[in-house]
Amino acid sequence: MNLHSLWFTLSAEITKQHRNRVKGRAVFFSLLLWPALTFLTTYFTMQPFRTGAGSALSKVIPDGRIPLFLLSGYLVFQLYWTVVQAAWLFEQERKGGTLEVVFLTPASKMAFLYGRSIYSLFHGIWMFACFSILTFIFLADATTVNWGALLPVLVLIMISAVIWGALLCAISLFSRDSGLIYYIFQAPMELFGGVRIPPAVFPAWATGLSLLFPLTYSLVLVRGALYDNIGISWWWALGALIVGSSCLVICTRYLLVRAEQHARVKGNWTLF
């Protein structure tokens, strides 16, 4: 498998996804309006909590920075959420009968999975840009941002999100019901990943769960860069994200091979 054919498969999958998924109004609602309204609701939900000096909240969120805390949370959550959608829509591939065609061609299946995930990320990237602008409108003091750390971290998070999306797609290869992905990764990822509630106030079992999501590490990195608070835990999160993502690539490859074997044993002439 040479580089040219890998690129060919990748771009073919991206083009296919683009043609399938750009459907006018729905994109505006699901990617911009609903997240923005949900963000506002969460912002006001935090209002009854005391924020001044000595309050419980000020110990975990730097004083007066709740909008920035929540916005950075939503921003990174949306990045991971866009790739979860790639896996969520995987069942269409089975129902449409296109999955077996992909498996029968000599195309690289890894490139196929990464193509799906990359497209999903770019499908949501314009929304990501809108959210970023909002972040900086709310951000009163841009001088505390460590730009040298923030920009590379954002690139790293995008790569990690694509890897995460491809892994979830590989998991979807085992079952027709990819709706399951939605239930596991919508609310639990948002709650335990630390989007709204700082992981520092979690009980131990919830902290354990939060460590399973790359979102958690990404939030540590982004918030550290935004507040210019780069300490030992920041470097640990960076290491965990890089090592974790590399392991996930290997897991994706393994799951893909197992799923193909599984399909050959359990499938009939139409494979699935």
Binding site: T41, F44, F49, V60, I197, V201
Partner: protein
Amino acid sequence: MYLINGDIDSKFAIYSGSDDYLTYVIIGGMLSIFSVSMMMNVSRALITEWREGTLEALLLSPSSRSGYFLGNAVQQLYRSGAELLVVLFFGLLAGLRLPSVHFISLLVGILLFLLSCYAMALVLGSIMLYTRDTFIVQNTLFTITALLCGFQFPRQYLPDYLQAIGEIFPLTYALQLLRGTLLTGESRLIDALPIILLSVVYITVGQWTNRRIERGLFERF
């Protein structure tokens, strides 16, 4: 722990009439789940008939349309009611504490809450039928009501213009009344007036638009 050690600001007690934040949010969460499930299923009734091909038969029959919707609502009531009991059970485990509630005001509050869900579902249903879409219409309404009706936080925290927009929904007043009854044990029945007025307006508009849309439905397709 999850609630940031219950470190609540002083305005909360003034706005909500109680300093029991946990009970406040649990009641809000329960009623939010209940209202979404009620509104969603009643409003989807006609478009589901259309999608399944039974709408034509329904429209040709001489049955009462209000009876049809009320039947749907009653069927939904015991389904959502079962859901509510489960949430209530977990709510009590999590720390929900209800004061001694006046039985009649509670009953009135529940009835008015059901009425406002029903009224909003009628209008929502006619929008769904008109746009041929359920996904975008219902999710947009539910994200808006989550923000404006005061399920998770007192509405007084919202800017004035958002509070004013929230007042076009009967659900906002019904929630306020029922929560007041549950949370503080006291309620003023004068608060029932806007709920009844708005519900009547919604039901009238819903019935009228439903009839018009049904009439045009088969001409357009």
